[in-house]
Structures are given as C-alpha cells and as structure tokens.
C-alpha cells in the first residue's frame, strides 16, 4: 500500500464548498439518415442523449467520488438541462439543495452532436453551445454571497471553478479573496486568473498560465518561468501548473519548483474534465492533511485515471488507491 493512501481515508470526513459555473455537457447520439429536401444538408436521426454535469458540477462530482461531502454554491436555469444536472449531482452524492434555479436564463449547455451507423464509432459533427448572453440576466450576487456565508459555517475550504460565466462577479470574487485569509480557497479559473490574486492555491493549465503571465511555454524551462511569474505576481500560496502530457509542476512560496511526469502509459483517451479532477483531488488531499507535494502527486495520479475514460469522468477512491500503489511518489516521505 502506498504511504500516501492514508490521506484518502481522511477525505471521508471533509466538507468542501464548491463555488462556480455549472455546465451541462450533453452528448447527442444520432445516426445519419439522408439528405434533407429543404436544403443540401444531412438529416440525422436522434438515438439517445446523455447529460453529464460539467464545469463546477464536474469538480463537485469528482470531490464526491473521493468521499468528500460537497456543498455547492451555483446556479442553473429552470429548464430540462438544469433538471438533469441536479438529478445527476444528487445521484453522484453531491447535495444539490443549494443550487439556485434561475428561470430568467438558460443552463449553460454544450451539446455535442455525434453521428455514426450503429455498432460503429460515432464521430462528432458539431458542438452547440448555449450560454447566457452578457447582460441578459442580472447576476444575483447578493443571493450568491448570502449563500456563501451560510455554506461558510460548515465547510473547511472553498474550491472555485470559474468558467467566466455570470456567477462569479467582482463582489463575489472579493468575498472569496477575503475568505482566503482565514480558510483555504483553491481556484481553477479560465481567462481571469489575475482577479484571484492572494488566494491559497491556483491550478492553471498551460494556456491559462501563458495568458496570465504573458509568456509562451515552448520548453520545460519556460514552464518554470511562467509558474514563478504567477506565484510572485498573484501573491498566491502555491501554483499547480498542469501541462497535459508533460505532467505538472508545483510552485510554492519559498520552495524550488517540483516537476512530476505523467503516470501510466500515456495512452490518453479524453482530457476533457481532467483539470476538474486535478483540482478536486489536490484540494481533498491537502485538506485531509497531505503536504503540498503529496497532494500534487495524488492529483497527478487521479488525472491519469480520468484521461483514460471518455468524457468528463471521475476517479473513485479505489482507482486512486490502485494507481498510488503502482506509482510510488518521486520523493521521500515528508
């Protein structure tokens, strides 16, 4: 058994607040039928669809898969996609009671239309995105902050999953940054990392880190420069930079960067949602008492499990234990 496995046992008693943008990932399976008589386009016949909670909901699902109790501060529309997400979150063990239903705007939906004959691999034709338009519905930030304050009483940390939709307004972000002075706030943010200066940990991918640092990552040494720049500029406690097939690098104040190669064969099936798994595993391990580097290694192992699965997936405690047993941490016990 891996010496790190005991942190997994301790994940069961944790309660983490997940704040962020919920996305419904929809997979529409169809089979091609014919050309349309109305216009020279393909007509496909609907076979079935799958709705998978994505964005912040995927992060929450990943935490729940490790046995963490999750309280969500999020919102969805009053539509069938919203219904399905809440249903699926409930089934995954996440308490969806605190998700606000907003009839005035749609649930953010990314629908992949996949087509192919039965018993053949289906190929994606289109992705159809439904997002609230800027200014379409006024953010209900006072309600969000009120709910954050209620959730704050029972959680040990906040995990922010920001996809730059309309939940995390400047006032909500301010609240979270203030909260970081007294409680860990771990942030996974698309496109606006600078807004989260002063939080406990950020977990950008290369693209997000490059965008914020204003530097391109071409070689491993560039990654070190980018990570250091983020650590200094944003004044965060640590930066966990995920680098796809190049693994990840941990930067912590006052420590040398620590690089981790990927675990496993590298036969990657689908990287979507891997970032959600990383931030969930890292947060759960850290809150359970693991050191920064131990938490980083655990999250690296968890990522290796989900990239072998199709779509935004989760990693179970048992799967994580198995990987940890096979892949010893590249450092001694702290």
């Amino acid at each position: 058994m891996s010496p790190l496995a005991h942190w997994l046992d301790k994940m069961h008693g944790l309660t983490i607040g997940v704040v962020g943008d919920v996305i419904a990932d929809v997979y529409l399976y169809t089979r091609p039928a014919r050309l349309s008589r109305e216009a020279p386009v393909l007509v496909v016949h609907y076979e079935r669809e799958e709705v998978i909670p994505g964005g912040a909901a995927n992060t929450a699902r990943n935490l729940a898969a490790f046995g963490v109790h999750v309280q969500m501060v999020a919102e969805v529309g009053s539509d069938s996609a919203g219904d399905r997400v809440i249903e699926m979150l409930g089934a995954a063990g996440v308490d969806p009671g605190a998700i606000l239903r907003r009839p005035e705007r749609p649930t953010v939906t990314k629908t992949r239309i996949l087509a192919g004959d039965p018993h053949r691999t289906k190929q994606q034709l289109f992705r159809i995105d439904r997002e609230p338009r800027r200014g379409e519905a006024r953010p209900r930030e006072q309600e969000t902050i009120a709910r954050l304050e209620v959730v704050d009483r029972s959680v040990q940390a906040f995990l922010v999953s920001d996809y730059d939709y309309d939940l995390l307004t400047p006032a909500v972000i301010d609240w979270l940054r203030r909260k970081a002075k007294s409680k860990p706030v771990i942030v996974d943010s698309r496109h606006r990392l600078p807004a989260f200066s002063g939080v406990t940990v950020i977990t950008p991918n290369e693209e997000e880190a490059e965008e914020t640092a204003g530097l391109k990552i071409e070689a491993g040494s560039d990654a070190l420069a980018v990570g250091r720049a983020l650590l200094q500029r944003l004044g965060v406690g640590a930066v966990l930079l995920t680098r796809g097939k190049h693994g990840m690098v941990l930067f912590a104040q006052g420590q040398e960067p620590l690089e981790f190669g990927i675990v496993g064969t590298g036969e990657v099936v689908d990287v979507s949602g891997a970032g959600d798994t990383v931030v969930a595993a890292f947060s759960a391990a850290r809150l359970a008492g693991a050191s920064l580097r131990e938490a980083a290694w655990i999250s690296n192992c968890a990522a290796s499990v989900v990239v072998m699965k199709v779509g935004a997936a989760t990693c179970s405690q048992q799967e994580l234990r198995d990987v940890l047993a096979r892949a010893p941490a590249p450092f001694g016990q702290a």
Partner: protein
Amino acid sequence: MSEGGDELVARLARRRVLVVGDLILDRYVRGDVPRISPEAPVPVVHVRGEEVRAGGAANVAANVASLRGHPLLVGVCGSDAAGRLLKEQVVAAGVSASGIRVDPARPTIEKTRILARHQQMLRVDREEASAIHGALEQRMVAQLLKLRGKVDAVILSDYAKGLLTRPLIEAACALGAEVLVDPKGRDFERYRGAHGITPNAAEAEAATGCDTSTLDGCRAAAEQLLKRIGLRWVVITRGARGIYWRTADGAEGDAPTRARTVFDVTGAGDTVIAVLALARAAELPLSEGVELANAAAGLVVERLGAASVTPAELANALAHGFSTASKVLTRAGAAELSHRYAAQGRRVVLTNGCFDLLHAGHVQSLEHARSQGDLLFVAVNDDASVRRAKGAGRPVQALAQRMRMLAAFACVDAVFPFSEDTPEKVVPAIAPAVLVKGADWRDKGVVGRSFVEAHGGVVVLAPLVAGFSTTGLIERIRDGKGADA
C-alpha cells in the same frame, strides 16, 4: 364562380373538421460559428435564438382555425418537454389541444434545424415511426367513434409516423362525414374507405407509376387511383403547375397556380387539404373547393412566411386577384419570415426609412438595395418616430399608406413598421445578410453595423441620389413651384 368571394368564404366558417394525424414540433436553432471546437475538428455553434412551431397535422388544424372553421385535432405526442411546447403552439394557433393524447412510450416527433450565418447546417429528427401500440390504438378508435355525426368533414394528415393505422382509418371513415387524405408513401390502398385524396405530384407518381409532370399523366394517375381505391375524387397538387382534380364520374379540371412568385411551398399542402375539407363540409362542389384551395395555397406560397390565411385575405384574393398588400407585415412576421429565408440560404437585405412622399430617389435606392441580395425588407418609421425626426407636420402620409405604397414596388419583398428612432433593435430581429444605408451615414456610424458584421453579414452604403427629397417636394408644393422652376 356562382357566388362572390365573400359569401363563398363565409360558408367555410364554423364547419367542424376533424383532423387526425401525425403531430410534429418544428424547431429552429439559430446561431453563429465563432470558432472550431478545442475537443474535435468541428464547428462550435453559439446559440442566439430558438423558435418552435407546430407542424404536421397540427398545422392543418391551424389552417382550419385560421379560416374560422372549428378544428378538432386528434393525435399523439410524447410525455416530454417537446410535447408540452407542441401543445402550447397548438393552442396559440387557436386549436384545442384536448384531443392530443400523451403516449409516454414514444417521444414527441421533432425536427430540429440548426442554422448558422444564414445557412442550414444540419437537421436532427427525433421520432419513433412505429405503429402506435394496441391499447392506445383501441382508445383512439373509441375516441374517434364518439364523434359520429358530430363533424362535417375528416382530414387524415399522414406523415407516416405511425399514428394512422388501418383501424384508425376505418374508424375515421365510419363517422358519416367526408374523409380527405393527405397521403404518404406508395401504398394508398391503406386509405380505402376514404372519399378523396390529395397527393402531390411526386407522391401520385410514386403510387401509380404515371408521369405527373403532364396533365395527361395526372389524368391517368387520378383514374387509376379512383378505380383502384374506390375514391370519389382525386386532387393532385403540382407546385408551380397548379392543381389538377378529377371525380369518379369523370368531371375534371386544372387550376393554374395563382401565385405570382413561389417563395416557399412548405405547408402549402396543409393549406390545400384544410380549405378543401372546409369546402366539402360546406357542401360546395369539388370544383369550387379546388378554386378556394388554390387561391389559399397561392397566398401561402407567395406571401411571405405565413403558414395559413384568414377569411378576409382569401375573399380579397378571390375578388381582386393577388394583391401586393400581402407584403405588408408586422415586425414579428417580418422577423419570422427573414429567418425562414435565411434557413433556405437566401440573402435578406434590410433597409429603413420614412418613405413619406415617394420620389425617383427612393426608387433608385430601393432597387440598388434589392440588387445586394435575394430579398428586400423595408422597415418603415411609424408616424410618431417620423414626427420626432422631421418635425411637426410630418409625415404627410400615415404609416399604413406609406407601407402600402412601398409594398407595390416589385423590388420590395416585405414591409413592416418600427417605432424607435433608430433601427438598433430591428437589425437583430431581422438579422439580415446585408444592411443598406445611404452613404451619408458613413461618418455618423451605421446603427446595427456591429451586429450584422458579427453575424457574417455586410453593411453596404448606397450611393446618394442628388436632388430628391420629401422635404424638397413639400417645399415646392407649398411654394407653388412646378418641376421646371
């Protein structure tokens, strides 16, 4: 015709028409394609809007209601969100949804068109085209048989989605009213017991093997169907070639299409069978029914975007032939129409103005605008907004007259009003492929430019025609000056 158009159309009102058939929800999802997906080499469509409409048998019933008939719609939808939307649309069209049964075992039939940048990209059909299950069939047969003696005509609107099983067709034929069929497929034998059938030319050809592109071929096809299935009459709709009809006792006729231009034949078949059923319910001879149906279908295919006609429009068309007044639309009607054209890949041009006293400058700029695309939509300032822009005493002509004048132009395809000072809100509603403004707007900034360009359209600045203006005309009239002054 023995009676005037008004009386004839009035006789259609309050006729009870039972419509039994496949209900379809037509969906239009509209968006842009700003990028390629990071997950796979496919376009990402960002949804900007979505519309739904009741189609199939529901559209036939809507046509009956529009002519003040009393439709009774019987069909099946699923126990799903699409089914609820379908019922809402049915009710919005003035038809009761109480005859629609919910079958949890099958989804509501949906046809979803995905449109981006004025072009259809994909259609996703959702259906379960198997025959309805036995218990449901029995309940529906019982439901139909209760209507014996309570309806004046019956329409079977078949889209081959499984509703019209033989027992249902037999029940419909046992109600003591004339039964009209809009058929699907090759096997018309299954409609035995019905009185009349209204295939289009392609359907008649597939069912009989006769070449329906000629009148002789239509005659042969009709004779074969009459004899084989024991029908009283056959009506073949021939698109731009009009309508051919024939009865069992050998009477026949050929009504040439009345539309000047065929814009969109979608739904014309639904209009034809709805009008024919009302006419037969009113005990009009088939020849007069076809005359009415032909006029109504002409309005639907020519007039822009409407799926049904009102009694006044039909009477007007019968009395005066086709009027360009049909180009005058509401703003919502114009928006709907523009989206339909865009879905067909046609380029809608939008321009706007007051158009108070029409002059040669207007003609030139409208013709120029029309030449920039396939169809010209003109947004006309209402009276209050003209007054705000041009001052008291304007407009000289009220909105209705200004729109009616514009509608008479051959280069104008649709005219509709707007009440704001700028077309800022009109542009996104119409979402034109081309926005035309006078070159004098170059420096003032064209309202709506960013929207049009962001959606793959272009802004065209039209050359100004010197020496013409409504204001100049008014001054000349007031000063008593002639054209030579």
